[in-house]
């Protein structure tokens, strides 16, 4: 399937899916689906750098929070409309990724990983001390009174936005994967030195995939303050984002765009179920952490790895 056809199909599917689900009478569906879709975007975005390029980003929560807090700042400044919030949050997160990447990607890969982990702590400190966006107390971001397009409630609009954002993330990921850039990234992942020697512009490609990945993570966060109506640093910087956006691609499979999607839907839904049935937040995180360790030690290629192995056996 060519990229353009895939983009059209993905968008058509997203629109149809969003429209059809408006018939669902249960309001809780939209709240739960919003969270799962948020993880679809985060996992897909993480995989652009982690799966395709082989660089681990532990700072998903930081970039997510950048998106969320740029929305808070815009809301406080002039009650910006939703599209402006989404675009600005995406750009700011991409810029932060550019800065981090430029400083650390020239060194060994592990330094990027460590710096991304430390970035969460520092940005957290920064937000806690920044009173304009609420500081440690948190800030209210109220949903607009009237909902556009004749939708019954604002959460329906946020849900549709999330479906479209997920489609955008998947299209971007697949386009990169199938392009020459994607092949360059795969070369970096498999052997960076050999790639550099064969004329692959490694630094430029690494910075490119970092910026795209971080920008998409920021995009996932832009509607978050509106979703909750209230945001505080510890919810925006929740470690759950960092661990989930790593666990989901690893469990689904990191080699193609479909792995993170499967991982996110599976793991995201399981967490929603556990939350609803047992209302045990901490247990949720323990399950994700345990699954991450189990998969990474016992099934390093994830669910898609099993599928591929099964296909090969059948083909023989």
């Amino acid at each position: 399937m060519s990229n353009r056809v895939f983009a059209v199909v993905a968008f058509a599917f997203a629109v149809a899916f969003a429209a059809a689900s408006q018939l669902i009478p249960n309001e809780y569906f939209f709240t739960a689906a919003y969270t799962v879709l948020q993880f679809v975007i985060l996992a897909t975005a993480w995989n652009i750098l982690g799966g395709y390029t082989g660089y681990v980003n532990f700072g998903s929560a930081a970039f997510f929070a950048i998106g969320a807090y740029s929305t808070v700042a815009l809301y406080n400044a002039f009650k910006a409309p939703l599209p402006v919030m989404i675009v600005v949050g995406t750009l700011v997160a991409g810029l932060a990724g550019l800065g981090l990447g430029y400083l650390t990607l020239r060194l060994r890969g592990v330094f990027f990983a460590i710096a991304s982990l430390a970035l969460s702590v520092v940005l957290f400190t920064f937000i806690v001390n920044w009173d304009y966006v609420g500081g440690a107390r948190g800030a209210y971001v109220l949903q607009p009174r009237e909902v556009p397009f004749g939708l019954p409630r604002y959460i329906h609009l946020l849900y549709i936005v999330m479906v479209l954002q997920a489609a955008v993330a998947l299209i971007v990921a697949r386009t990169i994967e199938k392009s020459t850039i994607g092949r360059g990234l795969a070369a970096i992942r498999d052997d960076e030195l050999a790639a550099e020697c064969s004329g692959v512009p490694t630094l430029r490609l690494k910075i490119f995939s970092t910026v795209v990945s971080c920008a998409l993570m920021g995009m996932a966060g832009t509607t978050f303050p509106l979703y909750l109506s209230f945001i505080e640093p510890s919810s925006a910087f929740s470690l759950s984002y960092a661990v989930n956006s790593i666990a989901m691609p690893l469990i689904g499979g990191m080699m193609s765009w479909i792995g993170p999607l499967i991982g996110a839907i599976l793991l995201g839904s399981v967490q929603q179920l556990v939350q609803v049935m047992f209302s045990l937040g901490a247990w949720n995180l323990l399950i994700v952490g345990a699954l991450l360790v189990l998969f990474v030690t016992l099934a390093p290629n994830g669910i898609m790895g099993w599928v591929d192995a099964w296909r090969r056996r059948k083909g023989r």
């Binding site: 982690g50 082989g54 660089y55 681990v56 532990f58 400083l103 650390t104 060194l107 890969g109 592990v110 330094f111 990983a113 460590i114 710096a115 982990l117 430390a118 970035l119 969460s120 702590v121 520092v122 957290f124 400190t125 920064f126 806690v128 001390n129 470690l239 960092a242 661990v243 790593i246 666990a247 690893l250 901490a282 247990w283 995180l285 323990l286 994700v288 952490g289 345990a290 991450l292 360790v293 990474v296 030690t297 390093p300």
Partner: protein, 291 residues
């Protein structure tokens, strides 16, 4: 003495004392990351685990937490051996340590933290010691014992490890692993065995450092995360694999943090280590005493 001079001297002393503790916290990373090339980002989780074990024993029996951690350090040593075995078999042997190995340690960090939250909740825990509330005063300068005692034990531990590495056969084998594993193999030494024991040593130091932490301040499971940036900042600043560098780097960071909290407020202190880490990576990636 003038008030501002006293403030500066107090900040320096507090920073040095804090830095001694940071040296103990980073010592393990200096071994595992700096020498063995094992990026153990779960190191702070074992520090917090050490804090909680010291807390439990202190709470039940009233023993001194630092003494407890020294007695129980073989437990952490054994834990480190098991962990390295798993890491070696699943990642290092297959050449997958860069991405999946990191994710593995991240998962371990996470599981440890969440398990501690499930057992103990998110309340701050503290220990009671005979020296906890004692403060020496000399010419307007404070020497709080809850910082001085960990500082002394910590510096002793760092010096001890350095002497061990340079003056014993096994220690030199560890240094050799850091330089050339193949050569070590040709000399008839098994590098995996050496790395296993050295990694175990690094986890043992984490357990002891955990007891320092809970003597210095109250502990809850999530504060381990603040130390991730710190330990790597100290390790990189000091120069990879240099124990003396780790000690100096830790003292520098301690003083920088102490000045930041004195003059800008304590809520900014966590940002210092990251700033220092980024600056080191940008301007001198090999660190102060790097090879």
């Amino acid at each position: 003495m003038e008030a501002s001079t006293a403030l500066v001297i107090n900040a320096i002393i507090a920073g040095l004392l804090l830095g001694g503790f940071y040296a103990a916290v980073s010592l393990g990373i200096s071994i595992s990351f700096g020498m063995l090339d094992v990026v153990n980002i779960a190191h702070p989780a074992f520090i917090i685990l050490g804090s909680y074990i010291a807390y439990i024993v202190n709470d039940r029996f009233g023993f001194d937490p630092i003494l407890v951690s020294l007695v129980l350090s073989p437990l952490f040593f054994a834990l480190g051996m098991v962990l390295y075995r798993i890491y070696y078999l699943c990642f290092e042997k297959r050449g997958q340590e860069s991405l999946r190995g990191l994710a593995f340690f991240f998962g371990i960090l996470f599981i440890t933290e969440v398990t501690l939250v499930l057992i103990f909740g998110v309340d701050y825990r503290m220990v009671s010691t005979v020296y906890g509330d004692v403060t020496w005063r000399a010419g307007g300068i404070d020497f709080p014992m809850r910082l001085v005692v960990p500082f002394l034990v910590s510096v002793t531990m760092v010096v001890g490890v350095q002497l061990f590495l340079t003056h014993t056969f096994f220690g030199r084998a560890v240094l050799a692993v850091a330089q050339d594993q193949l050569a070590l193999r040709l000399m008839g030494v098994n590098p995996v065995r050496v790395k296993e024991l050295a990694f175990a040593l690094s986890i043992a130091t984490a357990g002891v450092a955990g007891s320092f932490l809970i003597v210095i301040q109250p502990v809850q499971p999530a504060i381990g995360r603040e130390y991730i940036g710190l330990v790597f900042a100290v390790c990189v600043l000091g120069g990879m694999g240099s124990i003396w560098g780790t000690l100096i780097g830790a003292l520098v960071l301690g003083i920088a943090e102490s000045f930041t909290s004195t003059f800008f407020g304590p809520s900014w202190a966590p940002a210092v280590s990251f700033g220092l880490l980024l600056a080191t990576l940008a301007f001198r990636p090999s660190g102060l005493f790097g090879r």
